[in-house]
Symmetry: C2
Subunit: 538 residues, 2 copies
Amino acid sequence: MTTQLEPTAIAEDVLSSQTMNGAEQLVHTLIGNGVDVCFANPGTSEMHFVAALDSIPGMRCVLGLFEGVVTGAADGYYRMAGKSAATLLHLGPGLANGLAGLHNAKKAGSGIVNIVGDHATGHLKLDAPLTSDIAGLATPMSHWVRSTQNANDMERDGTEAVAAANGRPGKIATLILPADTAWSQVATPRTSFSTLTRELAEPIDAAKLEAAARAARHGESTLLLLGAGAVRGDALDWAGRIAAATGCAVMSEFYIARAERGAGRVSAPRLPYAVDPSLALLKRYDRIILVGARPPVAFFAYPGKPGVLSAPGCELIELAGTGHDHEQVLRALCEEVGGLKLLPARVVNRQVPEVGEGAIDGPGIGRVLARLIPENGIVVDESLTTGRGFDGLTASAAPHDWLTGMGGAIGFALPVAVGAAIASPGRRVLALEGDGSGMYSLQSLWTMVRESLDVTVLVFANRAYRILRGEFENVGAGAPGPRAADMLSLERPELDWVALASGMGMPAARVDTLSALNAQLARAVADSGPSLIEVILP
Amino acid sequence: MTTQLEPTAIAEDVLSSQTMNGAEQLVHTLIGNGVDVCFANPGTSEMHFVAALDSIPGMRCVLGLFEGVVTGAADGYYRMAGKSAATLLHLGPGLANGLAGLHNAKKAGSGIVNIVGDHATGHLKLDAPLTSDIAGLATPMSHWVRSTQNANDMERDGTEAVAAANGRPGKIATLILPADTAWSQVATPRTSFSTLTRELAEPIDAAKLEAAARAARHGESTLLLLGAGAVRGDALDWAGRIAAATGCAVMSEFYIARAERGAGRVSAPRLPYAVDPSLALLKRYDRIILVGARPPVAFFAYPGKPGVLSAPGCELIELAGTGHDHEQVLRALCEEVGGLKLLPARVVNRQVPEVGEGAIDGPGIGRVLARLIPENGIVVDESLTTGRGFDGLTASAAPHDWLTGMGGAIGFALPVAVGAAIASPGRRVLALEGDGSGMYSLQSLWTMVRESLDVTVLVFANRAYRILRGEFENVGAGAPGPRAADMLSLERPELDWVALASGMGMPAARVDTLSALNAQLARAVADSGPSLIEVILP
């Protein structure tokens, strides 16, 4: 990878005269390049890295009891902090357990310095039990992979790993560290670093900008579809001004790494998940302008249904991919359509719905969320079937951030909530989780308790892989017989999320009415620290 | 891979006249080739396979709530059943979550037909979120990888996958199934199959056999080191006769996929885990005969310590690797040393130790196990630091099987116990688990309850990654400071395994004295069904 860096004043690099082993050199290199959080599940080969935490101040190290917690937390951290954390994993199997989280992070454009310990270089030929092809495992889920072969290369490799991770968009940079590179002495230790700069954004394509402006002027038959960095901050405001100038529609992708939404912000509703409503919606548009978004496609293929969701003949203008500065691109488009001085259109007003009485259902939960998502809250959403209506129901909540799964690997919400909370002290995180999907990464609760994170976990307990019941029919498999139905049910035995949370030291409550949910959630967001609410769905 | 098959009478293969889709063809192919258990965590792309379970009798499908449960269970199943199960995983991230279990299974020589669903072939080019390089992910942990491209190839690919998995030793055969190969109709369905035969064992090397016999005749300065299939059944008896004829020592590797041991059997103590005691023990031997075992090496490298554990100048005779028939090899060696008619040496007598009073420690737990491991019981051992003395302490227990981790990937014991129990109805399984390692795969408890498996889980709660405290010093990192110590501690918050078990519907109790442990374990092994005992260590 060649990384073009923004010009910057280069500070004098200081070489230390102290002795230092490779692990200490790596910790200095990370901190010196701005990486000061490490999510870790270490083993023997990583003990020198762990030891270095005591001798070198400035690195916050957060333990996860499973590697999926570690990589998912690094994803959530990047989304909120806008910079990379490090991970610390134990050889091939430790990496393997974290790969699903890396997959999600890669699709989210989250940068991670993914550090994987390995056997000492001389030990590999003995093929001890933990030996495996770590680089081979890492490659499918990484943008950059390197195995350091000498402690003296540690500073160079660590610096390049951080540079790769801080690409635009963020990248997965996997740095494999044989144990002897960690414990061997470094010939010329370095403890001071110039601050690493960020990769330059891709330039705006003038022809595409002109085509986009032309399309936008068609008004309501054109969709401005936002993704990546376009769904927040000034970028979103420019999108609202483009809508004000042209009358075009503004939406965002179904999958969003981080969207700023709620009262006072420009509304950019998410595309639906399912194929049929997406087709019905997108057939209104003859032109789609993509800014940080990709052409809309079906999540899965279904027999007899299209994979491309835009209408046949629809013009797709890929104005900006994920490597652009989306605020810059949308400002340029806004200028092109003469909207710079306008007030943004589609700005949301705060509305506080009545919760109502009665049994819990998706719309009811949505109303509770619309009331209680706190200002500046962060919602991590893996609510799947339960949450299909949340986008509309919570559009007029207090201003907040909304994070969804990006790679489709299940169980992302609890780990991502860990990282988002570490990155955002003082902000309440709500993790919306299914009872099935939560089981993939329930170890996250322990880390939330250990770090006293302000996370409220809502587990929607429908006691099924409910989404698969629909998918069973969608793929043309008919109605499930008893043996198939058994594979989609979580009723035998029932999960008790209050007990599971309690087993990891987390206060928890169970609710089965909307008013109880409202009361519990109101209390949870007002308190500090983590807690869990199991929401029983009929 | 070229598989040489044992000669067999080929039955007439019957072509069915019914219509059948690819998924149904695969289920028929698996069952027809003797694969009748499937451990599964399916998603949308696997729904036709799930649907086929209803229309085709004969496949037991066992749901896991995390993919590490699925692959670990398939490992345990193979070890006890001696034949491959299938797995069913959901695209790249589902495979990724199961890779650590596949790593362990690969190192154990366990065969698995590892089925991974993929997007429909035409959908891949759209790069939907779940798209990843599945073959690339599978390759490091597989012996055989194929992506089926057409439903009409399903029967051929399924048959070859089973043949690969049933190699000698067992292999990881990863079969990737694009969704359209599952839902498309098969042109010429097949529902009847000739029974698949087993790969021929490697032939005995006559020169090595002679060298081994010469070495064995040196008596006590020679070690007969057993692994793989050599630590059970008639193979072990022949080893005892070789010892009777020559006076050579008999031991087994520290890592054993399945050892038969206890009263009435030939004793083959396991090598120690740690480097120093291994070196001290192995320096007694000038010659080591390896049967199913590999040359002893250190699990990790440590600064200033050797990786090869046999004494300098020790002669290593690799008589049989994992691809041999170990009973055949040991019988041949026995014949060569004139031991065929002797009674085996080193046969263990049953001894029932007193438990004693007082606080719980490793030796005390070992005594309880020696009393209470039931005849024909199966012990799956991930007790790590707590269990360092169990090998000696339980040597004279009632006859039983002992299974350990083979690849060093943590959290194997609970999933392997699931599979071992499915393979061994009527036999009690004891899973010896650490509180740290158990957290990697605690979802296994749910499957144990769902399937009413006769598994007793003992969780040894020392509230630390205790093994790493020792490793920290072993690798020369000194004594952990407060920040390093925090990375090795599970005290903040304490895990409550009784609550965790209860959350998955499993009866559980906590004990903190030896007599309470003895009472609870006695009750658990006498009952049917699963339960958990949290053993609090001081």
